[in-house]
């Protein structure tokens, strides 16, 4: 008989179990090697479950509708038409409905839902594949350890699923749940399903919430199994930039997001004493995660560095895994004679599947030129092939480049007719014709100046774009090749989660408003201008003692920026989760630690119930935690699902101009007083709490507009007078700095004279007197949107 003690029973989670019994002896039975597989055991943990354990797509609808009433969707249709089914195409513009009955608002929300579902599916698919690999290498029973100071190891997972994961195997249940929800969400996009835009939006939020659960599962699995930094504020500083990759050594370039093949490459190099003989470098999140495993590895740069580094000739072999990999990577690699190894079944790129072939035969075929590369779905084998290929290709390739020299560019540029066709396909509307005309006269500096603002999309080199056959992007690279060789910076590799002790230390100051805000600088490299704008924004808020958290390509771009005195931001600012600190959590999937930090504040600092209690925690975060996300260069569907996860927690997100192409914003109306009432949980009274925060999803036209919006969106109804005064000080100061005057809406945020920053008191009072501002009674509500949270004695009105 197998006895489970009553204490253990209480702590048991929902889990799968496998019991092995070497020898079983009973009255009527004697057996050897008995194995029992138990599908699920339901266990509970110390905290009783709240109302929404593993919520389905409709379970948090009421909460979503509350947020969407405050922040109604504002649509920016990318297309007048819908072409989803064979009854179409349908014109939905100007109030028309499609043949299925759908209108433009619902159609836009449906597309937003599709985007968020794709993003969530991508992180969940990533988590599933990574978990399968880690279970194989570390075992299903591998104990999750993400740091001694991180007792609340999985805030998103515990909050949403009620599971307190103890082993890798527990995460399989988490991913099972995510996959089920994604299936339901995708089903909602079918013709003749959901028809109401607000209900579509609620499902977008659901996709976002699931996304953060999946990301958290992926990251705690890899932190624990691969021994990544475990909430370490002093995680290593590593090299970043094209110039960090040594041209005198064989090199391997990894691109993508699933670190498993890169880990195997590292292990093979270590096992064979090749760590110093070969440069291992990466692009995108695979690179960030690789440096969490191997701090000698290098980061080439964000997504936008793919084509430029390949054409620069720096890679002797290119290993791709999944997500955000150029879909023309094989064609580009051919230009510089570099073979490509595909390692994910999500991304074969047309390469033959050689998973079952011997390493010798794969390497032989590629070196002889018989094949351009191979798909190898076994990460261990892919690791060995990559290392052996790099060594063999290095002397053959001689770092062959597809970038012209200055003289060649100047000669070619003379043919330019100035037709502007290249500019008219450039997403950043870069003045290519002017730069090329100057190059034709021998001045390549204008081309070189475009290097940081070019996102490397190569649209300007598309078939038929230039009648003269010129290649503007290649010309930009040629004019920048010396600079590329010198591009060297430092970035702190991802530290993973925020420690519980850090939350205890800053939870109070954040909720009171005395730490002016927590920024989550996330997203891709689809910037409207120079990548340095991302670092510029980060530096301003670090100086102002905001907590700046970051991840993914944004974290890299912050690293590729230097202060006036030439220092990198990761060198100048500490990595603790504290005021004036720069916290790189890691790759895309590490975004869950940023939302997780907000959830932890509610759980650890405010002691709110966490287990399956989403609505209450989101209500707490929305009304008290002055956090805001900035995805300046957001590009992908994953960026949309990450943002959606923040929205459901009530955390605002700002995007750069290209973010308008997500085609809907969630904007508050500060001129509608009735939208900004909260319930005071002490009394049940409804009180005006000002537009705090004013928007849930907003696009900024310029870097400066974003920087003024940030402190404004960090204000919360719960701010103490000291906290509000600090936040107002930053808002007004930045507004003056960039726009020359005080903001015209500050009367909305000054509750009493005690809120006014002392240094600006006279100016502000003078300005307030010119409005209809009236001093409030100074009572700061215990704010909530949920009538059920009104305390005994009070009654929701």
């Amino acid at each position: 008989m197998i006895d489970i003690s009553s204490q253990t029973k209480r702590k048991i989670l929902k889990m799968k179990a496998r019991v092995k019994i070497d020898e079983l002896i009973g009255d009527d039975i004697r057996a050897h090697g008995v194995e029992l597989d138990i599908g699920r055991i339901i266990r509970t943990w110390e905290e009783r479950p709240g109302p929404t354990r593993m919520p389905g797509i409709g379970d948090l609808r009421e909460w979503d509708h509350k947020l969407l009433k405050k922040y109604p969707p504002h649509y920016l249709p990318f297309c007048d038409l819908c072409c989803l089914c064979t009854m179409g195409k349908c014109d939905l513009s100007r109030g028309k409905r499609g043949a299925c009955g759908i209108d433009m608002a619902a159609q836009q929300s449906r597309i937003v839902l599709l985007s968020a579902s794709i993003g969530t599916a991508t992180h969940t698919g990533h988590a599933r594949h990574l978990l399968e690999h880690l279970v194989e290498t570390s075992g299903r029973d591998h104990h999750l350890d993400i740091g001694a100071s991180v007792n609340l190891e999985a805030p998103n997972i515990r909050l949403v699923t009620g599971i307190k994961p103890i082993t890798l195997g527990d995460l399989e249940d988490v991913i099972d749940y995510c996959e089920k929800e994604i299936t339901q969400l995708l089903a909602c996009c079918h013709t003749g399903q959901e028809g109401n835009n607000i209900d579509f939006e609620s499902k977008v939020f659901h996709a976002g919430m699931i996304d953060h659960v999946a990301m958290e599962a992926a990251d705690i699995a890899q932190i624990s199994s691969l021994n990544f930094p475990k909430g370490d504020p002093e995680a290593s500083l590593v090299d970043i930039g094209i110039g960090c990759v040594n041209p005198d050594k064989p090199s391997i370039l990894v691109i993508g997001h699933n670190v498993a093949p890169s880990v195997e490459i590292t292990d093979y190099m270590r096992d064979h004493g090749l760590e110093d003989a070969i440069d291992l470098a990466g692009i995108c999140c695979t690179a960030l995660d690789l440096t969490r495993y191997n701090n000698k590895a290098k980061i080439v740069g964000p997504l936008s560095h793919q084509i430029r580094f390949i054409r620069y000739g720096g890679a002797d072999v290119i290993v791709i895994d999944e997500q955000c990999v150029r879909t023309d990577v094989v064609i580009e690699a051919q230009k510089v004679n570099a073979p490509v190894i595909a390692t994910s079944c999500k991304n074969f790129q047309g390469l033959p599947d050689r998973t079952r072939d011997s390493v010798d035969s794969i390497v032989g075929d590629i070196i002889s030129g018989k094949s351009l590369g191979a798909a190898i779905l076994d990460p261990v084998k892919a690791g060995e092939v990559a290392v052996r290929l790099a060594t063999a290709m290095f002397p053959k390739r001689k770092k062959f480049r597809a970038i012209p020299d200055e003289a060649t560019i100047a000669a070619a540029a003379k043919a330019c007719g100035g037709c502007d066709n290249c500019r008219r396909v450039c997403p950043n509307d870069l003045p290519l014709a002017e730069a090329i005309a100057a190059a034709g006269k021998g001045n390549l500096s204008l081309l070189g100046e475009l290097y940081e603002s070019c996102i490397g999309c190569t649209r300007c080199e598309g078939e038929g774009v230039c009648a003269k056959g010129l290649m503007p992007h290649t010309m930009i690279l040629g004019a920048s090749r010396i600079r590329m060789g010198k591009e060297k910076f430092r970035v702190r590799c991802g530290r993973g989660p925020i420690q519980d002790t850090e939350i205890r230390a800053v939870g109070g100051p954040i909720v009171m408003g005395e730490v002016p805000g927590v920024l989550g600088m996330v997203g891709c490299s689809n910037n409207p201008g120079s990548w340095k704008d991302v670092g510029f924004i980060a530096e301003e808020f670090l100086k102002r003692r905001y907590i700046v958290t970051t991840s993914g390509c944004a974290a890299m771009q912050i690293g590729m920026y230097t202060t006036e005195n030439g220092q990198g931001l990761y060198e100048a600012y500490p990595g603790t989760f504290d005021a004036g600190s720069l916290v790189n959590c890691g790759s895309c999937v590490s975004n869950a630690h940023i939302s997780g930090a907000a959830i932890k504040i509610a759980s650890i600092f405010a002691r709110r119930q966490l287990n399956s209690n989403y609505e209450e925690i989101a209500d707490y975060v929305h009304n008290r935690v002055g956090a805001v996300g900035i995805a300046w260069g957001a590009m992908s569907q994953k960026a949309s699902s990450i943002a959606a996860g923040f929205w459901r927690l009530g955390i605002p997100v700002i995007v750069g101009p290209h973010g308008a192409k997500y085609r809907r914003m969630l904007l508050g109306r500060k001129d509608h007083d009735e939208d900004w009432e909260v319930i005071d949980a002490r009394t049940g009274e409804r009180v005006y709490a000002a537009p705090t925060p004013e928007h849930l999803f907003a696009v900024a036209e310029t870097r400066e507009e974003a920087m003024v919006l940030i402190p404004k969106l960090c204000m919360r109804p719960s701010d103490t007078t000291k906290g509000r005064s600090i936040k107002l000080n930053h808002y007004i100061d930045l507004h003056r700095k960039f726009f020359g005057v005080m903001p015209d809406d500050m009367h909305l945020f000054v509750r009493t004279t005690a809120d006014i920053p002392v240094a600006m008191k006279e100016d502000i009072l003078k300005a307030l007197r010119q409005t209809d501002w009236k001093e409030g009674d100074g009572r700061i509500p215990d704010p909530t949107l949920l009538p059920r949270l009104v305390r005994k004695g009070g009654r929701a009105k």
Partner: protein
């Protein structure tokens, strides 16, 4: 270089697209006829000082001559204030869109919803998207007119793609015509 295809070639219009207007007199006549006109300006209107013909200065002339309210985006406001002009309101591009879609929203001394809106100075794709939203969600009957240098397909009327000199000339002509009563 005048043409009526979207400046950004891949930002193709939908089932309907703006009528190209090359005669400034058409715009001036509509402006004068409108009961509640509005001008909306974004930051590309502020051209560096070394280039002749600043659209901000021309907009100020148009606004003063026609007594037309002007909403500017936050990054555009300093260019107006520098020239001694206080815009009627400062709102972000998307906030402007949300308010124009709201039939109950009003601006200006007459507190009416605008019936004609001129747009200028928009980063191309942001203007494109804003105007696409207005095409489907704004109250019916409002005329949206893009007077940017590049053709915008989602308005009622739009200037064609044109050279900078042509554009400045056209803007100046509108200012002259509006001032001439």
């Amino acid at each position: 270089m005048t043409s009526d295809d979207p400046w950004q070639r891949y930002e193709v219009p939908g089932s309907t697209q703006s009528t190209v207007v090359t005669k400034t007199a058409v715009i001036t006549a509509l402006l004068k006829k409108a009961a509640h006109p509005l001008i909306v300006v974004a930051h590309h209107a502020d051209i560096p000082a070394n280039v002749t013909g600043n659209p901000v200065e021309i907009i100020i002339r148009i606004a003063d001559a026609g007594r037309i309210p002007v909403i500017v985006t936050p990054s555009t406001a300093p260019a107006f204030r520098k020239r001694g002009f206080t815009p009627t309101a400062t709102l972000s591009i998307m906030e402007i869109g949300a308010r124009l879609n709201d039939p109950d929203w009003s601006i200006g001394d007459d507190h009416q919803h605008p019936d004609l809106v001129l747009f200028l100075g928009f980063p191309y794709s942001m203007g494109w998207l804003l105007q696409s939203g207005l095409k489907s969600f704004a109250p019916k009957g409002i005329r949206f007119i893009s007077i940017d240098q590049r053709y915008q397909p989602h308005c009622t009327l739009s200037f064609p793609n044109q050279s900078r000199d042509e554009w400045i000339t056209h803007l100046n002509t509108i200012a002259d015509e509006v001032g001439y009563t």
